[in-house]
Amino acid sequence: MVCFQLRMDVSIEHLGDLLVVAISGRLDTTSAPVFDAQLAPLLAQPRPRILLNLEGVSYISSAGLRSVLQLVKHTAAHKGRVGMFAAPPHIMEVIEISGFPSLLDVYPDRTSALSALA
């Protein structure tokens, strides 16, 4: 059984001015608007540094990448960057097909991400 998860969860961690956003489940056409709505209050103020924990993401479509791109554009507007870490290989494949690695900083894990952003 392939058993893709059909739901998405988001948890937010504040580390100083760094926003660590952990996503799990499917970031697709259905869940991406939910993700956007959950992040919207946080993006009401400038967030130049956002770090995405993609370890728990089981599936991402163009709708999910659109949400990520909005975060990238938000941080860029405030002279910052989005970082991401721990993307499973099949998620990384979709991200690479999209050309996103040139738009954000990719780290293998949380430790390396946090030390690079310290």
């Binding site: 056409t29 163009s62 659109r66 791109l69 097909i97």
Partner: protein, 155 residues
């Protein structure tokens, strides 16, 4: 080596183009893939392609389409292997995704459009991708060879 013997492998689902029915489309693909022991990467690729087309129908058909039909099928490849194919149809106004301009994924951030990646995914993950307009419906076909053979069918 003779082509593998496969069980009858073709199934369809008809849906209203509503966001809340995306899970039904995904479940349909998962069930078919599980029944035929598809490798997970192929299941993911077909799920992604189907979702992108379904989202296009929901978000961009004006006037709104009233139905979507999605079919999956398998056929033996010579000398070996299995080709999986899908047909996606709707009754929206004519829209040929194969004629959609290529997305430039090398553009810098300030020139990056927010949308347009869905068709790019299909082009990159499928071997075939074709369009026909038939009797007032869009018919989009795509497919690829499965990345490994499914096990022999149970007798």
């Amino acid at each position: 080596m003779p082509p593998p013997t496969l069980p009858p492998a073709s199934r369809s689902i008809r849906l209203r183009p509503e966001l809340g029915l995306l899970d039904d489309l995904v479940a349909f693909i998962e069930d078919f893939a599980e029944q035929h022991a598809w490798p997970v990467p192929d299941t993911r690729a077909f799920t992604l392609a189907a979702e992108e087309l379904f989202a296009n129908t929901i978000n961009h058909s004006h006037p709104p389409a009233t139905w979507v039909e999605f079919s999956l099928a398998m056929s033996p490849l010579v000398p070996d292997g299995v080709f999986a194919s899908a047909t996606y149809a709707d009754d929206a106004l004519p829209f040929d995704p194969t004629a959609h301009p290529e997305v430039d994924t090398s553009l810098p951030l300030d020139q990056r459009p927010i949308g347009g990646l869905g068709i790019h995914f299909i082009r990159r993950t499928m071997r075939t991708f074709t369009y026909r307009r038939v009797d007032g419906s869009n018919q989009i076909a795509f497919g690829r060879a499965l990345t490994q053979l499914p096990p022999p069918a149970a007798s």
